[in-house]
C-alpha cells in the first residue's frame, strides 16, 4: 500500500526577491511621468473643449491656472472662477498674477503664461472679463486649455 501513499512534495516557495525591484521600477515610472496635483478643485471639474491646433505647455512653473466652471452645488447658476484653492471673482485675478510674478525670477516674468481651464458650457462673457483683467496688468500670453484630438 505504500505505493499509493501520497507523498506530499513540498512546493518550493516562489522567489519574491525581485518583487521590490519590480515595484521600484513601477514607482520610478510614475514619479517620472506624472506631476504633483497642484490644486483641489472647488468647482465642478471643467470639461475642456477639444481642439486640433494645440500646443503643449512645457514649463509648468511658469504657468498660472485659472479655472472656470459651474458651482459644486446643483442649481447655482453662473460661472465660478477658481484661483489657487479659492473661489474668486475677476477682481482677484490682478493680485493672483502679481503674486505669481513675485514667485519667479526677474527674467522669467515675461515668459509667464496664463492658462484658462474653462468648461465648455461656460459663457464667453466670463472669459472675456478674465481676459480684460489680464490685459490690464499686461499678462498677455494666454492659453485656452483644450484636449488634443486629431482632425477627422
Amino acid at each position: 500500500m505504500s505505493k499509493f501513499n501520497k507523498k506530499k512534495k513540498d512546493m518550493p516557495a516562489v522567489n519574491t526577491a525581485s518583487l521590490p525591484d519590480i515595484v521600484f521600477m513601477l514607482l520610478f515610472f510614475f514619479m517620472v511621468t506624472t506631476t504633483m496635483r497642484e490644486t483641489d478643485l472647488k468647482i465642478k471639474p471643467p470639461v475642456l473643449p477639444e481642439a486640433t491646433e494645440v500646443k503643449k505647455l512645457k514649463q509648468k512653473n511658469l504657468v498660472s491656472f485659472i479655472y472656470v466652471g459651474k458651482s459644486l452645488k446643483d442649481g447655482v447658476k453662473g460661472d465660478r472662477i477658481q484661483l489657487n484653492d479659492k473661489i474668486s471673482t475677476v477682481k482677484d485675478i490682478k493680485n493672483f498674477i502679481l503674486d505669481k510674478r513675485e514667485s519667479v525670477s526677474q527674467n522669467e516674468v515675461n515668459r509667464l503664461i496664463t492658462s484658462i481651464k474653462a468648461d465648455v458650457d461656460s459663457e464667453v462673457g466670463t472669459i472675456y472679463d478674465i481676459k480684460e483683467k489680464l490685459r490690464d496688468i499686461n499678462a498677455l500670453k494666454i492659453n485656452y486649455s483644450a484636449t488634443q484630438v486629431d482632425r477627422k
Binding site: 519574491t16 526577491a17 518583487l19 521590490p20 515595484v23 521600484f24 513601477l26 514607482l27 510614475f30 514619479m31 511621468t33 506624472t34 506631476t35 504633483m36 496635483r37 473643449p49 477639444e50 481642439a51 486640433t52 491646433e53 494645440v54 500646443k55 503643449k56 505647455l57 509648468k60 504657468v63 472656470v68 503664461i113 492658462s115 484658462i116 474653462a118 468648461d119 465648455v120 458650457d121 461656460s122 459663457e123 464667453v124 462673457g125 466670463t126 472669459i127 472675456y128 481676459k131 489680464l134 490685459r135 490690464d136 499686461n138 499678462a139 498677455l140 500670453k141 494666454i142 492659453n143 485656452y144 486649455s145 483644450a146 484636449t147 488634443q148 482632425r151
Partner: protein, 206 residues
Amino acid sequence: MAKRDIPEINAGSMADIAFLLLIFFLVTTTMNSDTGISRKLPERQPENIDPPVLKEKNVFIVMLNRTGEILVEGDTYMTVDQIKDEAIKFLDNGGGNGKDGNPCDYCKGKKDPTSSDHPNKAIISLGSARGTDYGKYIAVQNELVAAYNELRDKASEAKYGVSFKKLKEASEESDISKSKKESLKEKIKTIKEMYPMILSEQEPVK
C-alpha cells in the same frame, strides 16, 4: 581575530515599503499634460488714440451668437467645418498690394479684388455674444488658427521642403547646435511674416 558573522538584513519588507511609496505617488500626482490653444492678447492702447482705418474687404468677420450659429461676413451661415476653407480663401487671396506696396507673390488664391489685399493686411475678427458657449467659441477659434497653420505649412513646404510644424518642433529640440537653431528661427520668422496671425477677438455683445 574571530570574524563574527553579520546577519543579513531582512529585505522581505522592502516590497511593502516600495508599494507604499508607489501608492502615495499614484494618489498625489496627475498624469495629464497641459495642452491648449496659445494666443496673445493685444496690449492696452491709450484712450485717446484713433483706431487705424481698415478697408472692409481686408476684414473677415465671424460672428457667433448665443445659440451657436455662425455668421460669416454678415451674410452667410456656416457650420464649424466650413470656416477653415473659407478663411484660407480669404487670407490667401492676395488681390492687391501688401503693406510694403508689393503684391503677394506666394499667394495661391483667386486674386479677387473684392477680397483681401495681402495676407499681412488681412484681419480675421471673431465676435460673439456674452452668452455663447465657450466650447463653441473655442471650436471656431481652433478652425481659424488651423487656417493660419495650414497656410504656413504650405508656404514652408514650398520654400524649405518641410512643414512649419516640423520646423517649430526642430527648433525646440535641445540637442542641436546654436547656428542650426538660429537658422531655424530665421526660417520660422520668415514664414510667420508671410502669414502673420492677425486674429482679433471682439468684445462680446450682450
